[in-house]
Symmetry: C2
């Protein structure tokens, strides 16, 4: 007798392989492809010596070493949760001060509570636990247009309906959010709406950051629709790329700034991307009344993150090594983004447009003139022939019956590849685009 639908769970039947898994296989099968697609981080700057030094320091001290190699707790290391609360507090305060010259308006009058922070297996697990805690199949979630495509896979797996809200260089457009909420209210669907998901810093894939004003306005709009929804509508602030914004001084404060807002905000972060991706240490700061649910689910899932990697991250933060490294990484990614940007300026035909990213690992480019970029497009095929892979923009748009998915963008990653490889990749990509044009002229 074979395994079939009568054996598996509804969820596992719903869950599909990642939309780009065929692309990942392709890259594995043809390693000669210059991948502008991968979300991997820079290899050359991985902190081998620092981690060695830290591991040595921890394991040479019997007390600390034993604590690092013993079971931890479900919530995560108290030391790391305290450090995270302090760090977020400081980040918001610094940023509030630098963007607001009036010291009386300094943010975070109240410190953050470490007991509202839960350490996770990367920020991905914080997203998973969030959906486990607040959604049932058929619920609704709002996301940005475009958004983090892995999250769209999660939503699909959880059976959640999605709507995309338009964005611009300042982030989500609050008037579009309001429009959508009114429509949901009118159609009677508002009660199924659980949250709005924003990747608020150096967004994957657009590279844009959301201003504090826009986030705050979005939150206030959500609050206005609560009574009509019959329950709170959460704002999930995914800050995974926060510490990879190039200009930390101009970075916006988070929505944790005002204590009252914290009861509506799920703030997710990671120590992975800006330090050592092989560690997988993320976290979430959750509303107090939600934390219990997340905590119980985390207990079932794995009863707590690995103590060893948490200890390493804690020591990296305490010793200052973490800050030094994130600074180095920002510099490195800025150089790589600049190199990619320069190469694009040199080779791009007129119908290719893009913005310099505010941080992160990606340049988001848009093709004008009618050609598409999707996996079945002429351009994608030509690129493959030329040994180039990118992530088609269409994957970053949720299924939303109110619009068709734009199919004219590309996510170009400067994360993993070295500069000469990036330059050559961009040159060939641009040639492929120009080739399309000249053909269409015939």
């Amino acid at each position: 007798m074979d395994y079939d639908h009568s054996f598996f769970s509804e969820k596992s039947i719903r869950v599909e392989p990642p939309s780009i898994s065929w692309l990942m296989r392709l890259a594995l099968d043809r390693p000669e492809l210059i991948s502008l697609a991968a979300g991997f981080t820079d290899n050359a700057t991985l902190p081998l010596d620092s981690v060695k030094e830290i591991a040595d320091r921890i394991l040479s001290d019997p007390k600390r070493g034993q604590a690092a190699l013993q079971y931890g707790t479900t919530l995560g290391s108290a030391e790391l949760r305290r450090a995270t609360a302090d760090r977020l507090h400081r980040l918001d305060k610094d940023q509030a001060v630098s963007s607001n010259p009036d010291p009386s308006k300094t943010a975070h009058t109240h410190a953050l509570n470490p007991d509202q922070i839960l350490i996770t297996q990367g920020s991905q697990q914080a997203l998973y636990l969030t959906l486990e805690a607040i959604t049932d199949p058929g619920d609704i979630m709002l996301v940005e247009d475009p958004t983090y495509f892995v999250f769209l896979g999660l939503l699909q797996g959880f059976g959640i309906q999605t709507h995309g809200i338009a964005t611009d260089t300042s982030g989500i457009q609050p008037w579009k959010l309001e429009e959508k909420l009114l429509a949901l209210e009118k159609s009677g669907e508002l009660k199924r709406l659980k949250a709005l998901y924003l990747v608020s810093y150096a967004q994957n894939p657009s590279g844009r950051s959301t201003t504090y004003e826009r986030k705050k306005e979005a939150l206030e709009i959500l609050k206005r629709f609560e009574s009509s929804a019959g329950h709170p509508i959460a704002l999930i602030e995914d800050a995974a790329y926060r510490e990879l914004e190039f200009d930390q001084e101009q970075s916006a404060p988070s929505l944790l700034t005002e204590p009252n807002d914290r009861e509506r905000v799920f703030y997710l972060g990671t120590y992975t991307k800006p330090f050592a991706t092989g560690m997988r240490v993320g976290f979430g700061h959750f509303p107090a009344l939600v934390l219990d649910k997340i905590f119980n689910l985390k207990g079932l899932n794995d009863f707590g993150a690995a103590k060893f990697t948490q200890s390493i991250v804690s020591e990296a933060i305490a010793s200052g090594i973490y800050d030094t490294h994130t600074q180095l990484l920002r510099q490195r990614y800025f150089e790589k983004a600049s190199a990619m940007d320069e190469a694009m300026k040199e080779h791009a035909p007129e119908n290719l447009s893009w913005e310099f990213p505010s941080g992160g690992l990606y340049i988001w480019a848009k093709l004008g003139g009618g050609a598409t970029t999707g996996p079945e497009s002429e351009l994608f095929k030509r690129c493959l022939e030329e040994g180039i892979l990118y992530i088609p923009g269409v994957y970053a748009y949720c299924s939303d019956l109110d619009r068709t998915k734009p199919d004219v963008e590309m996510r170009l990653s400067y994360g993993a590849a070295d500069i000469p490889v990036l330059q050559s990749g961009i040159k060939r990509l641009c040639e492929a685009i120009s080739g399309l044009e000249s053909r269409s002229e015939h």
Copy 2:
């Protein structure tokens, strides 16, 4: 507006805090309590120097170091999956040979396929993903009487109905399993039955191991009911304590031994407990047709275990450090089990009975003469007054309307505490039991 049931998911409303969370809080609030309750592992033998040496070795080699600190894949490190396949193969072969003098019947004619192995965040996550993949609320699962109480919390969270199957010193009683299957068939519930869960080596809490014959018979019985169920009925073999069985030479082969059986067996293991619990590296070997589902769910959950801890475990295995350490640990736990056993022999009143465990971290003791051991019992309260905590046996029994939960047992842990502490704890526990008796004589 407050968060309430209209906001949360059905699952998160179902999930309860761990049954023993009040007990864990008690132990935290009163650190003077000699805890025979904790599932923590031995601190003194945690491999600080070995992990330091391994981390140093990996991080001093740029290529290996970069691979260890970069993202991994969802399935887990290829090196560790290969090592796991080899290791399981060898364990089964060794054990099949030692328990079966006929070399022509040597087990594992076919090697295991590393691509059916997925690395998880401890074996707990393998359990979680298994339930995610194969159960919906209302499904049925069979467990041993008694069973691993954390798994019962999982089942409750997933909304799964449970039935307990009686066990004896050889493990599950197949005739009881058959009886239950017939009853489920008769009541028309068989189609909701998804799996039987066995903790087959040095079971938590009983300390007993299941013989190969019993496991095999259980599997054959499940197969006979498949057509009536309308789908396969899986056997989940939780082998978390396998490498902590004291006598590895007498250890039973696993159900992965025969290639045909592998399509019905979910085999779960861990590198955590027998090495360094702070690492949280577990794994599952899944039927080929199930692996895809588990893989997709793992992708959503955290897209893969931390590469760094996987690299450390891989190197520990490859270098032989892992084997040396598990041997040391087995010796250590055997000494502690023996010390606890001796103390019990010295102090126990006649109405306390127990077996010497086949391995693991626990002695399972049974109280005769009518007194109970539950959290509201006289004994539990007296123990608290005496500064002793144990896990009441009642927690290790699933909800099963066909019987009442036995309430006369205790799980006594020798995992974390040092020998003098164990001795003093057992003495006081036995005094508390004797105190009950003398009072009931009045």
